[in-house]
């Protein structure tokens, strides 16, 4: 039996040398391939259940007999080599124990420990100690890394119905990270796909409760918050172990084919503002004019009050003087002759005088 134990150690050494994946690489294996677990562990477990401190003599004997054919180290015969081989095996086992028992968990990571497949505990950042590989396995998971899922795109149309039965084209992204690594690993078959579906469902549900104007307008941030909360609720009910960090609406626009009508609305707003501005300008102008004229009248009226008759006559004569000096005048003595005057003649004369004036 002692030989068997030695053999066990040797066999393990063989595995460690040539078949890496069964040995120390166990804990670093992809967590997405759990089916491989049992086999790898099974083989390793057998090896580990044997104490590495095997009897040196029987192994030496055995190696002497079996010679180089069995040697994994390149087939060098002889006693000193056998002893070296033994120490090599022991060293490898020790290394393997070291690597599979101590786990360095980075600050952003957590280590999920399973013992014979069953979840035992989660290792926090730092150095964690577990049983060696075949018994305990550690899956490291980055929990701080915030991942982003993009839904809808800014180039293609992703239409959604709003509460008032209008349609918007929406694109948004969801940021999330892992909250409970053990739930994330063990409860949901396709976490990424699940988050995507839940996001779509939550966004649709929220958008179908608001009006078009709210969705494309100023209630976007409320929608984002509501979607995030709704997603969190759903994912918690799935025990997905995921925390939704936030939802960001990148685009919420009316569909392409009605966009012109929407642009016309903003054009109409500009127009309306333009009308109002023009009216304000007019009002301003009119007010100033009225105030100016009223003030001018007031000034003159003050002076007029002091000497009404004189001022009135002075103004009359000044005005008449100015006017009559610049226009043609005809003074007719006899009353009642006006209807018979050759008015066209008078007009012609006036034109002639004007032409002469301009000719000179």
């Amino acid at each position: 039996m002692s030989i068997f134990s030695g053999l066990g150690a040797r066999a393990r050494g063989l595995f460690n040398d040539t078949k890496g994946p069964w040995g120390p690489k166990g804990p670093d294996e992809e967590p997405t391939e759990p089916s491989r677990g049992p086999w790898g562990e099974g083989k390793g477990r057998k090896g580990a259940s044997q104490p590495p401190s095997s009897t040196v003599a029987s192994l030496d004997d055995f190696i002497r007999k079996s010679r180089a054919r069995w040697s994994p180290g390149g087939g060098l015969p002889g006693r000193p080599n056998a002893s070296m081989l033994l120490w090599g095996v022991i060293g490898l086992v020790a290394l393997w124990l070291l690597f599979t028992s101590f786990h360095i968990i980075a600050p952003e990571e957590r280590g999920v420990v399973t013992r014979f497949g069953r979840y035992v505990s989660t290792l926090d950042p730092g150095i964690g100690f577990t049983f060696p590989s075949p018994i305990d396995r550690v899956q490291k998971l980055d929990v701080e890394n915030i991942r982003t899922v993009d839904l809808g795109s800014q180039t293609s149309e992703d239409l959604m119905l709003t509460g008032d039965q209008n349609i918007i084209d929406i694109a948004y992204s969801v940021r999330w990270n892992v909250r409970d690594p053990e739930q994330y690993l063990f409860e949901i078959a396709r976490p990424d796909e699940t988050i995507r579906q839940v996001a779509e469902s939550a966004m649709r549900a929220v958008v179908s409760g608001v009006s078009l104007d709210d969705a494309i307008g100023d209630r976007r941030s409320e929608i984002e918050t509501e979607v995030a909360q709704r997603m969190q609720r759903i994912l918690d009910s799935y025990r997905a172990g995921v925390r939704i960090q936030g939802v960001a609406i990148k685009e919420a626009d009316p569909p392409q084919s009605v966009n012109d009508a929407f642009k016309d609305v903003s054009a109409a707003q500009q127009d309306a503002q333009r009308y109002i501005n023009a009216a304000n300008a007019y009002a301003q102008q009119l007010r100033q004019k009225a105030q100016g004229e009223a003030a001018a009248f007031d000034r003159i009226y003050e002076q007029y009050r002091l000497a009404p008759e004189v001022t009135r006559r002075r103004m009359y004569y000044e005005t008449m003087e100015e006017i009559l000096s610049k226009v043609d005048k005809t003074i007719v003595e006899t009353p009642g002759v006006t209807p018979y005057l050759p008015l066209p003649e008078v007009r012609k004369r006036a034109q002639q005088s004007q032409q002469q004036g301009s000719g000179q």
Binding site: M1, I167, A189, Q197, R204, A272, L286, R287, Y301, I323
Partner: protein
């Protein structure tokens, strides 16, 4: 014993290897994500639903691995007709867990076939339930508990397959391409046109009010000032008006005019009667 090993080292090594393989085959490890049905010659012997070490008789008993995690089935896009005869295309998904691996193994054998079995049932459950509500309620079926009904209906069927439906949700609800979509676009467009018009009209209205206010204010200013002496205002304004009429207001020249005066005119009264 030792003699045999020494004489046949290769044989001995092979024997150890075989023993190892036998051991591993006898004690498989069940991970957290799986459950297992142990089958011996087609008969189900045991079920493992908890993670940990399990055992079996090698080469005689077979492990059938079944996912323990939450799985999902996606429904193909389904047209749904509401009670008011309007069409909507609906995309839904259901989440389920296999809670009874034995039943699941007996009825469908594999997860893929279970999914294939659930998909059409999900489709018809969604169609049936959503077909009983008006269009407006289709848009947010969560509020009326419609999805709850779908879930319960689907769950009854799923239980026969050893699965439990956790959740059914509508992923997308869209108007079908073609006329319904186009008429929705048309409605949106006309609604916007209406909005644009009313905004412009509103702007015009405000502009008019602003102008009228200004006019009224100017009239008030004038009245306050000119009302002090209507007689003088009449004269003063007449003088201004003559100037503007005959001489222009400074910006453009007035039309040519010829004035015919009678000697009795007030302006010429000094002509005829000096000193009066």
């Amino acid at each position: 014993m030792t003699d045999i090993v020494r004489r046949h080292p290769i044989m001995a090594g092979a024997a150890v290897l075989a023993l190892l393989i036998l051991l591993i085959a006898s004690f498989p490890v069940i991970p957290e994500t799986k459950q297992a049905v142990v089958v011996r010659f087609g008969n189900v012997e045991r079920i493992y639903q908890r993670a940990g070490l399990a055992w079996r008789i090698p080469f005689v008993e077979n492990f059938v691995w079944i996912d323990k995690r939450m799985l999902d089935v996606d429904m193909d896009r389904q047209p749904v007709l509401s009670t008011d005869q309007r069409r909507l295309e609906v995309d839904a998904f259901a989440r389920y867990r296999i809670v009874d691996p034995l039943r699941m193994y007996i009825t469908t054998r594999s997860e893929d076939r279970l999914r294939d079995a659930l998909r059409p049932i999900l489709g018809s459950a969604v169609r049936n339930e959503l077909g009983q509500v008006p269009f407006a309620a289709l848009l947010s079926p969560e509020r009326r508990g419609v999805m709850e009904n779908v879930r319960n209906g689907l769950n009854r069927v799923a239980r026969q397959y050893g699965a439990e439906i956790i959740d059914v949700r509508i992923k997308k609800a869209e108007l079908p391409d073609g006329t319904p979509l186009q008429s929705a676009f048309e409605r949106m467009r006309t609604a916007r046109e209406q909005e644009a018009r009313s905004i412009r009209a509103e702007g015009a209205k405000q502009a008019q009010i602003i102008r009228a206010d200004a006019d009224a204010e100017a009239a008030r200013t004038y009245a306050a000032s000119f009302g002090k002496d209507p007689g003088f205002y009449d004269f003063y304004r007449a003088m201004q008006s003559y100037r503007t009429t005959f001489l222009g207001d400074g910006t453009d020249k007035p039309a040519d005019s010829t004035i015919i005066l009678s000697p009795q005119n007030d302006y010429l009264k000094a002509f005829t009667a000096p000193g009066q």
